[in-house]
Amino acid sequence: MAHQDVVALILAGGQGSRLGVLTEFLAKPAVPFGSRYRIIDFPLSNCSNSGIEAVGVLTQYQPLELNSYIGNGHSWDLDRNDGGTYILPPYVSQEGSDWYLGTANAIYQNIPFIDSFSPKHVLILSGDHVYKMDYSQMVRTHTEVGADASIAVIEVPWEETDRFGIMNTDENKRINEFDEKPAHAKSNLASMGVYCFNWSSLRRCLIEDEADPDSKNDFGHNIIPRMLDEGLFLYAYTFEGYWKDVGTVKSLWDTNMDVLDTPEVLDLHDQSWIIYSKNPQRPSHYFGPKAVAERIAISDGAEVHGEVRHSVISVGAKVEVDAVVEDSIIMPGAIVKSGAVLRKCIVGMNTVIGSDVLIAPEISDENDFVNNRLCEAGISVIAQDLVIHDGAQISGNSMIGPGDAVTHPHIVSEMPTRYSY
């Protein structure tokens, strides 16, 4: 295998359980975003734009759709002869077989893969963040300051520091302490889950960590503290710009709405840092003779015949005549039939919302679908590949999955196929 200075590893194996039914048959990085993207488009495009040509995607949970989406990496210009994208699932060796147990263990199991490129640096990235970042700049700074590891950090509001892993640093941005979700933070520099390591240092730490039976084999919990204990130089690389973790229903909804409300912040029009995605071969989207569209994002193959306000309409989605969609995310291929009214609703891929269905926060009679653990702020979530029958009324904070097709067949039923690829 050809030498590569930098190898990037994207952790894409997590179940994303806080997204509930959206990730029941889908790895979180494959969740649709912003009308025409999947979340993993962001780290993959960042790699491509940063000139990184060897990218391993560590998968474990429901990888089929993700694998098909990534394919040979062509869409991100990452189908290279001596590099490109590699899907890295767990595997069996003569020493036995192991599922990935933690983020560090997942990388540990792929040491031979990384070794094959003899890299100087390894980037560890998350598959579920929305941001634009030049990793090559981070690697350059990492090299210039002579760090063993660099952790990208972003300033978060002080009142939110208890939700993040906080890095306490000296005046030279050398990290001297790592506080996981501190009640009383000493700094507001939160880890973005973007790490740059010298491969030789990381390799040794991974092997030591693996040998420690008490370790959870996690980067945040084990590897970083271990490196700090050893006195290695961990540098806090400050990132300025838009960065969102889309791990909850609320943050997924918020981040989608940012595309509408502050398009200049994430700036998807930036020609110098294109966010690539797998382009569907669909015609231009169409607004019918009676369409109403106000503050929406819409993509190839979609058709709007009804009224759509402040919503994200994804590839191939359809809103029929007299339907009303507001403050909602309609994922690829979903159909909203005539007379339906949706407010604050996330509709999964290929799901059909029947005629005159009403889903809205203001529906007050709480029904069986309400899930206040995962849903908040009135946002409802309908899983992919379902049919909501005509006339159903569903209150806010609802979450409807294929299981409800069994218990409430008169309201929900499941469509024959579950995989869209």
Binding site: L260, N279, R282
Partner: protein, 368 residues
């Protein structure tokens, strides 16, 4: 699983004039339908039929065609042994002029293909169809050449081919651009011919000093060869005038027709671009609008086709118009029956008013 045919696309037709829109590009590179070029339809029909080797004869104005086709990956034609072959003219190294041996490159391409049949299409057809029936019919009938036709009424004076077919669909006369005689059979310029027969026809033409290859020249062999017609039922647009181009664009607001032309079963493939989603801002109106990725719409738009990256400013009013890629329509502009080529700017408050049969046409990169 293999289709025993290779494809040949005649990528330009000098006789079709689309005013300033033809200047920068071959006819088959004409943009159409918001995100396509005509050649996307020609290529997709072949690829969807299972044809895996396609030659594109591009004698002139082939720069934009080359840019669009790239490696052929968008049509899945970036193949090891098959794939896409752009056939440029041979250039004589000494005189630096074309050797007038366009036929040589065609002959070369056909000879090196392993398939027994060649599907030839002209450059100006917008349709979504499969050629498999045509191919089967051709093989069954034993004809030398089989040509597609339908019964569309052809307009006088435009580059068209009318066919005289007997009751067994056998061709006995060909009328080009007929001004006087009208027949009930109108050629859709797609034909199938056996590889070895096509080669011998081309070799003979070359030896007689013929230098170019057109669809009409192929049909004129009806005197020596048995040419049969094969009727086609689906909708076909023949782009042979500005008015027809405009009419075809405006017909895309018909749901049935649009869904037929851009079928999900037989998609029309085009070059991948990575534009962000289209944003429709508050205060805009969009009715009967085909819009594309990267557009930003703030104005009042009706019966329009907007290509990728078009921006429509506040207060702008667009009616019955086709706006090519990355053109900017500034605030308060007022356009009706207009076609504007790519990378142009219509300044604030400008008014342009055309007529359905005579749309106002603005060339590439203009500032109005």
């Amino acid at each position: 699983m293999f289709v025993n045919a290779m494809g040949l696309i005649l990528a330009d037709n000098q006789r079709v004039k689309l005013g300033p829109l033809s200047e920068p590009r071959a006819l088959s590179a004409m943009p159409f339908g918001g995100r396509y070029r005509i050649i996307d339809f020609l290529l997709s029909n072949m690829v969807n039929s299972g044809i895996k080797r396609v030659g594109v004869i591009a004698l002139t104005r082939y720069k934009s065609l080359m840019d669009h086709l790239g490696t052929g990956a968008s049509w899945d034609l970036d193949r090891m042994n098959q794939g896409l072959f752009l056939l440029p003219p041979y250039i004589n190294p000494m005189t630096r002029s074309s050797e007038r041996s366009d036929l040589s490159s065609i002959i070369d391409y056909i000879e090196t293909g392993s398939q027994d049949y060649v599907v030839i299409t002209d450059c100006n057809l917008i349709m979504n169809t499969l050629y498999n029936d045509l191919l089967d019919r051709h093989i069954e009938s034993g004809a030398d050449i089989t040509v597609m036709y339908n019964r569309d009424a052809l307009e006088y004076g435009l580059p068209n081919i009318s066919l005289m077919l007997d009751e067994e669909e056998r061709l006995y006369d060909v009328l080009a651009d007929s001004h006087t005689v009208s027949t009930e059979f109108s050629s859709i310029n797609v034909a199938v011919v056996r590889k070895d027969l096509l080669l011998s026809v081309l070799e003979e033409s070359r030896s007689r000093g013929v230098t170019d290859f057109t669809f009409l020249r192929l049909l004129e062999f009806y005197k020596q060869l048995e040419i049969k017609g094969c009727e086609h039922k689906g909708k076909v647009f023949r782009i042979n005038s500005m008015a027809n181009y405009f009419k075809a664009s405006m017909s895309l607001f018909d749901d049935d027709l649009r869904h037929q032309l851009f079928s999900e079963v037989t998609p029309i493939y085009t070059k991948v671009k990575n534009q962000p989603p289209c944003l429709v801002e508050p205060g805009s109106r969009v009715n009967n609008v085909l819009a594309s990725d990267g557009c930003i719409i703030q104005g009042d738009v009706e019966n329009c086709v907007l290509f990728r990256g078009v921006t429509v400013g506040k207060g702008a009013k667009l009616r019955n118009s086709v706006i090519f890629q990355n053109t900017q329509i500034s605030n308060d502009a007022d356009l009706n029956h207009v076609i504007i080529d790519k990378d142009s700017v219509v300044k604030m408050g400008v008014r342009l008013l055309g007529h359905p049969g005579f749309p106002v046409v603005i060339g590439k990169g203009s500032i109005v």
